[in-house]
Symmetry: C2
Subunit: 708 residues, 2 copies
């Protein structure tokens, strides 16, 4: 019997085994344990690669890879929590390693923590006093979204903090899903989360253009909020909306009567159209692809969405504290939606669930957090022989691995799309409700856009980092190289470019860890190549390529704490040396961070190198295989159209084969005509309805083709 | 009875009426007429706008817009052709205007012209002599793709020329669709198309890195070509391929059992989801959208793909002559494919046909050149209330207007996509067979990539220009303005940015015709605004926006003829003053051009202005409404994967509402669950199959929601 696969998903009993080991070792009288996260400690690459190599060659792996589970927990003694991380070998039933962390390392918030904020805040004296400053329309109640506390001052040394964005919710409609984001309140309470007590209430400036950065002094008279009286037009749940839903959107059914073309095997192994990979799922990243192979050849060891920072561009204090790191401060996996058939995904769908942990360390199943399906994406390739009229056309088909995360007001839809042309697309869609703050009615502001009376949607950025750990036709450290390829003009000259039309490709091998920016002017392309395998047709290294998106980078001042926390967001491309467990572009602890310790900037600084070049090997780092971090973003200066829930803003990064294959990998796609497509007639015979069906191609007789 | 719509498509009898008027006026004894193109001369804007205004207000238009047809023809007297353009008022049966052109103005090639090349060439003595320089494998015959003759020398004054790219075709497989592009020959014949005689045979360099730019001297011994003997692996028609087609691609059926949500009325009027527009079709541009309105409000007066240049980057003469202008030299409409149901388009499809002309001026129907359908594009917007678990999700639906053009070896798929969020996407897909030239077997080259033995796919660019003639909530010249909006950091300072997170939006009104480049570093955005209509929520001008793609611009030397012919390809954005009949980014006559006379560069130079600003109105031009030209491209350094037919390379330009609406226009999309989606089970029970169906959302009881 073959050994269990090291990339199998976390099982419920493994959570319990790991928990029990931790309780036994770290529990005790007067100690309580608060379990934050229990997840697979992924195998070391040097352990996993021999296993994968054996697996793909059809042999039995020689050694079993240890099964290790990470348990992240607070050990609370005398009311003081201390964050611990234990790695448990669940096969041996032993703890292999336990780490504690300096006090400034704040791990992500859990749902359990978020849920404590509102009750403590609302009960506090200072909050009760602060809300005397304003009055709400009758039937409105306060509701608070807890947020991480960013933007520490240089001299600010604080324990675990949390801030609350406050809104009012209309209860007169008797619907708990009434959109409270339409009614922002002019205060931000701050909580010491260790002591569970409110520290202060920050008051907000609510002015417009030309007004002060700071809140107006209190007048002593409560300010009446939301006098505009528009209590319906911000609603998005259908039963509350002030307009009917459209009735003229006829269903589009996507069906696969002969079944799906993909297979999902045990341990989340997926096979589809020569692709073969495993879907992982972590509390922080959501879905992750492991060991992505095409036709038996490895392409990607691991690809994942690593981090995102969302700094707000409103300079009025305390809005500088609004800088979310949605992976590190919250966790996309933990925030993953339970996806609904026929709503989040259409067609023939397979769902994956995942296992997370309760605060007691018990397993909890998150159902249907990932949907898997294939879809049609239009014409894949086509050629018509103009001499004969013979057209050959195939469709582009994609396999989609999709998950959706909700982070308070906002959602992200992430997808890995593998296609029949050997390409991998990493897609992000931003949607949900934009973050608004109060603005005096009738005013406008340069810091955002008024999207609803009294609600200013602040300008902000979303900057993502994708982590690409390649395995281009090999798992060996000896084989993979990163090359920056650019296309440059050649000045017109009689020797090499007599007519001025010539241009040249320039290549630069990335020899050691570095960063770079997109440079569309020179078509800068990242080639990921196997330096020891040549394409037999072109003679070039087999490889894949990606073109970094030249999106706007972080706007915050380089000397700001926002910038120090998100170095990754200051360049489009980072290439670092692979180390086990290094997955985080902004470092492991983003929450309340002052800088991105252990993030890509630190990884580059240590000087790992990739190639045996004497001028490089004298560096301080170690020989490693290169990991590519692709950074892209969206400067989101909101439109009114983004309200109350914004239409998706889509970004795609394409990773495509570049001399990896000996021809178009989709060449053998069938040219089958889809039999269920139908003609929609026109209302009038003035259109060429007569030509709609069965018009023959002009097809030339062979004897009419000119021959020599 | 209402008058006929001025934007109705060309009718077959109109072609005949226009032809007859031309024959009567310009025909005669000893004169022959060669009809090149007959198409609608679109109404002048000042005539059409009152008609549209009346149409939208439900009134009868006061005046009938004259129906004018353009007839482009050669009048041939004593064997000498003279290009003429007559505008015929087919209602009055009169010619309104006839233009002739200077000899250097070469209009596009017609299919009839292309088809003459091969026979004349092959029969010529100089060609017969040239092919003695090499021998072909047994059963191979010569086949020639005629190309426009670009890259004129500064002192080269030639009549209408044509060049031929020569290939060998394998006839031993008895299949006329055998891929001749795999066997390029080392000669390019050049024809004087007026005299119909061959001028010379250019010989090609076939070396690799380090070899001369010029062809090697003849040895006197014929060179044996295609010794590699691989005569199957470049084939793409299924019956010739050396590998079977995949059998594991199960059908994806896209059906609309309740019918489509769109209606096509007479005169190509389309209504779909609050969008209403007319689809035009011209021989040069293919499909064009006219009078695009949303919910009764005009958005676009006309949008079209205007031009594309494809310069090749191989500096070896005569490859500098390979610079196609696919719209001006050939014509995308004339090259449009007959689209097949279930192949080029899936689902419920309406097809439009068009009418072109034969060389005798008779109408010919091009069937099914445009397909119209709607499609699903994933999640459109979503929000989950994390307190209650209530998720509201809608789909993004798109309406697609697609056409496909074949230009010898290559194809382009163009689409306009209108969506339920008020957006318009202009999509291009490049596919087909890359242009190859011979290379000595075993050699590699910096000028391209070897994609098949002996075949070098040359590096090249595709640079497109889209023409956007807006009507943002108005047809009036007084209302439309273009604003460049940028997002800039604010240096950290105590007064305006105390913590460094603040950033600012800067706006610059475009007052007169100009060009600019994309500037992603500053998130440069083109806003198209109505300066006289404010969004009632935000107080800002209603508008649409687009972000120019910062793709690589023309690489050819600024002093080269390639650059002089394609000024448009040197900047991402041009804003010019509207003039009737000005539709061409590189000018009307691109074929064999020396410079782009009348193109966007000339339009900018005349200094038209858009706003009543005294500092601007002293310019030389006239007051006009602004037209936006968006330029983007693809530097295509071929991959082996692009062979033998390349997978689509997709580019999208998004034009999206920006404060045009008072909320998300897709807010009223139904949340209907698609009932035909199904679960694909896993092979094994280790996956969470139990959770797949009907897992309830966590839905919180109202009494558990914290309240004040």
């Amino acid at each position: 019997m073959s050994p269990p696969h090291p990339l199998r998903p976390l099982a419920e009993d493994e959570v319990l085994l790991a928990r029990d080991a931790v309780v036994q070792k770290h529990g005790g009288d007067g100690i309580s344990l608060f379990f934050r996260s229990i997840y697979v400690n992924e195998p070391r690459k040097e352990d996993l690669v021999p296993f994968l190599t054996a697996e793909h060659s059809g042999q039995s792996p020689k050694a079993t890879v240890p099964r290790q589970i990470t348990v992240l927990f607070d050990r609370i003694e005398n009311g003081v929590p201390q964050l611990h991380e234990s790695i448990v070998d669940v096969g041996a039933g032993e703890i292999r390693r336990t780490r504690t962390f300096p006090p400034y390392c704040q791990t992500s918030y859990t749902v359990a923590e978020f849920s404590q904020f509102q009750d403590i805040c609302v009960a506090s004296e200072i909050f009760q006093k602060a809300i005397q400053e304003f009055t709400l329309p009758e039937g409105f109640v306060i509701t608070i979204d807890p947020w991480p506390y960013g933007g520490l001052e240089p001299d600010e040394d604080v324990p675990r903090y949390m801030q609350g964005l406050c809104y009012a919710r209309n209860t007169t409609n008797n619907n708990i899903d009434s959109n409270h984001y339409a009614y922002p309140l002019p205060i931000i309470p701050v909580m010491d989360f260790v002591k569970k007590e409110m520290i202060r209430i920050d008051r907000l400036a609510t002015g417009g253009k030309g007004d002060s950065l700071y809140p107006a002094p209190l007048t002593g008279k409560p300010k009446k909020l939301f006098q505009h009286g528009d209590f319906t037009s911000a609603e998005y749940v259908p039963e509350l909306m002030n307009r009917p839903l459209r009735t003229d959107v006829k269903p589009i059914n996507i069906t696969q009567p002969e079944g799906a073309s993909f297979k999902v095997h045990s341990d989340n192994l997926v096979e589809w159209q020569k692709w073969r990979f495993r879907v992982g799922f972590t509390p922080r990243e959501g879905a992750v692809l492991h060991d992505v192979c095409y036709d038996g050849r490895p392409v990607m060891y691991r690809i994942s969405f690593s981090e995102m920072t969302v700094p707000y561009g409103d300079p009025r204090p305390p809005f500088h504290r609004k800088q979310a790191f949605d992976f590190g401060d919250g966790g996309l996996g933990r925030a993953a939606n339970n996806l609904k058939l026929g709503c989040d995904c259409l067609g023939a769908i397979h769902y994956l669930s995942s296992v997370i942990t309760s605060t007691e360390g018990k397993p909890e199943v998150q159902p249907n957090v990932v949907c898997l399906h294939e879809q049609d994406n239009g014409i894949g390739w086509k050629h018509t022989n103009f001499r004969t009229g013979r057209a050959v056309v195939t469709r582009l088909r994609e396999f989609v691995v999709q998950f959706v995360g909700t982070l308070a007001n906002y959602e992200y839809v992430f997808a890995f799309k593998l296609d029949t042309a050997g390409g991998i697309t990493l897609e992000t869609r931003a949607t949900g409700i934009v973050s608004v703050v109060p603005i005096d009615e009738g005013k406008v502001s340069g810091y955002g856009n008024v999207v609803f009376p009294g609600a200013l949607a602040q300008n902000h950025q979303h900057i993502f980092a994708v982590r690409i750990d390649p395995s281009i036709d090999s798992y060996s450290i000896e084989d993979t190289a990163v090359v920056l390829e650019e296309t440059h003009p050649i000045p017109m000259n009689p020797q090499t470019n007599p007519h001025g039309n010539g241009y040249e490709i320039r290549r630069q091998m990335v020899e050691s860890a570095m960063f770079a920016d997109a440079e569309p002017k020179f078509n800068r392309t990242v080639k990921i190549e196997n330096v020891n395998k040549k394409n037999p047709i072109s003679g070039k290294n087999v490889g894949y390529k990606l073109v970094p998106s030249p999106t706007q980078l972080l706007l915050a001042d380089p000397n700001s704490v926002q910038a120090a926390r998100a170095s990754f967001a200051q360049h489009h491309l980072w290439v670092t040396g692979y180390r086990d467990e290094e997955l985080w572009a902004a470092g492991e602890f983003t929450n309340q961070s002052r800088r991105d310790e252990g993030g890509v900037k630190d990884m580059v600084a240590r000087g790992d190198w990739f190639v045996n070049n004497p001028s490089v090997t004298s560096r301080t780092g170690q020989r490693s295989s290169p990991v590519i971090w692709s950074v892209f973003g969206l400067t989101h200066n909101p439109r009114v159209e983004d309200w109350p829930v914004m239409p998706v803003e889509i970004h795609q990064t394409h990773i495509r084969p570049a001399d990896f294959f000996t021809s178009n990998p989709a060449l053998d796609m069938p040219r089958r005509r889809n039999e269920t497509s139908v003609i929609v007639p026109c209302c009038s015979k003035t259109n060429a309805v007569a030509h709609l069906q069965g018009t023959p191609d002009k097809h030339v007789d062979p004897k009419d083709i000119s021959k020599l």
